[in-house]
Amino acid sequence: MTAAEWLRRNAGEIADLTAWHLWLSILPLLIGLLVALPLGRLAHRSRRLYPMLVALAGLVYTVPSLALFILLPKLLGTRILDPVNVVIALSVYTTALLVRVVADGLAAVPADVIQSAHAMGYRSHQRLIRIELPIAVPVIAAGLRVAAVSNVSIVSMAALLGVPQLGSLFTQGFQLHFFTPIVTGVVLSLVIALVLDGLILLAGHSLTPWQPRRSAR
């Protein structure tokens, strides 16, 4: 079978796997961000919690993803094939990565800005949402980009356990000794990583219109 023929015949399945891959990469990113925001704020406010949370995050990060995919079913009572394991594992990684980023982003807010907000009558919660978080956006967005790109790459590992996403094309192609599915999977997941990265970059820029437009780091 030629590459073009294989692509034509499997277009539907490839689209499904791409959708799964997107879903499995994006959902953990959102969950991770939602969990990391309060945790990061906590770490930022407490000198004692900061080193503890950062150390814990580092510890979580040492657990290899494949090992986590396998151990989660035992802890959660899910089946090993269940995509939920992947979502939870990646949410945990994303949170671990972003807790420090959020804390450091909040720490980068200049003290006089906080004082001015205080003087203008902002309460601590209002100040966080309307002053501190917006100013921390560039740092948080940079962390999110790293998390997004590595999520897209880690998701494909779950193919070894049979969870459907673009990595499934790798195992299929490998078993058939056929390059086309593998190359298709690699290219599509690179494209997804690139698109997600670009979207976060754009979102970061549009949330911080006061920032000078420098080339992205």
Binding site: H44, R47, Y50, P51, G58, L59, Y61, T62, V63, P64, S65, L66, A67, L68, I70, L71, P73, K74, I80, R100, A103, D104, G105, A107, A108, V139, V146, V149, S150, V152, S153, S156, M157, A159, L160, L161, L166, G167, L169, F170, G173, F174, H177, F179, I182, V183, G185, V186, S189, L190, A193, L194, D197, R217
Partner: protein, 247 residues
């Protein structure tokens, strides 16, 4: 089949022979060690050079990001399919695995080495130059020791990546702790899979602690940055650490 995870982990049968836990741990460490060595030989000198001369910095950032997005599993399989027809021995699986692991490990080592050298306090470099030191002396005796904390954290990240990913080599029929995951899956023996997963996690943790200890030994006590960073309010990465040291 029906054994528990602890049952599998404590069964003496699994602790002996060429397919036992000690042998597979050794195989895992061997492959990981080889990959890390190659990555160090490539990443550290190039990182030092770029940091020292300031040339090619834009390359580092772009390359590191692009490589992070590469799905390891797919690249490994492509490499195996390309190389197996040409080599008959086990090397047909070892070489692709090494290539993939090195590709993963070079970026964190290279970027951290570069960033570490680049962020060294300009006053320290100027002082050394004022004392009449030349390029290589400055690099090896001022910039390298000052950058060491960051370089070592890059090496730690690389080592963890390698250990996690070396697991996958089992899928292309190499040894290592991944064997238990892959074989356990094939035999629907969850205890073996989970036991293997725990062993991989434990190995990663042990290496992390070892490298942290090593960093404590190697980094000059005069560089109190690591200590002060923990006790003082956190600073933002790269740019802010540079200003913090300059103050």
């Amino acid at each position: 089949m029906s054994t528990s995870i602890t049952g599998w982990l404590t069964d003496p049968v699994n602790w002996s022979g060429p397919d036992g836990i000690p042998a597979q741990t050794l195989a895992h460490l061997e492959l990981s060690g080889m990959a890390l060595t190659i990555a160090l030989v490539i990443g550290v000198p190039v990182g030092l050079l770029i940091g020292h001369t300031g040339r090619g910095a834009f390359l580092v950032g772009g390359l590191a990001n692009a490589l992070r997005a590469l799905p390891t599993l797919g690249v490994l399989m492509i490499a195996v399919l390309l190389i197996t027809p040409h080599i008959a021995s086990d090397l047909a699986f070892t070489i692709p695995s090494l290539i993939v692991l090195v590709l993963l490990a070079v970026p964190p080592i290279l970027t951290n080495t570069y960033a570490g050298v680049f962020a060294v306090d300009a006053a320290a470099v100027d002082a050394a130059r004022g004392m009449g030191w030349r390029g290589r002396d400055i690099l090896l005796r001022v910039q390298l020791p000052c950058a060491l904390p960051l370089i070592l954290s890059g090496i730690r990240a690389a080592a963890l990546q390698i250990i996690a990913t070396a697991t996958v080599a089992a899928y292309v029929s190499l040894g290592g702790l991944g064997r238990f995951l892959i074989d356990g899956l094939a035999q629907s023996d969850y205890a073996q899979m989970a036991g293997g997963a725990i062993l991989v996690a434990a190995l990663a943790l042990a290496v992390e602690l070892l490298l942290l200890g090593l960093a404590r030994l190697l980094v000059s006590p005069g560089l109190t940055r690591r200590v002060s960073r923990r006790t003082s309010p956190p600073a933002v990465p790269a740019s802010a650490t540079a200003t913090a040291t300059a103050q």
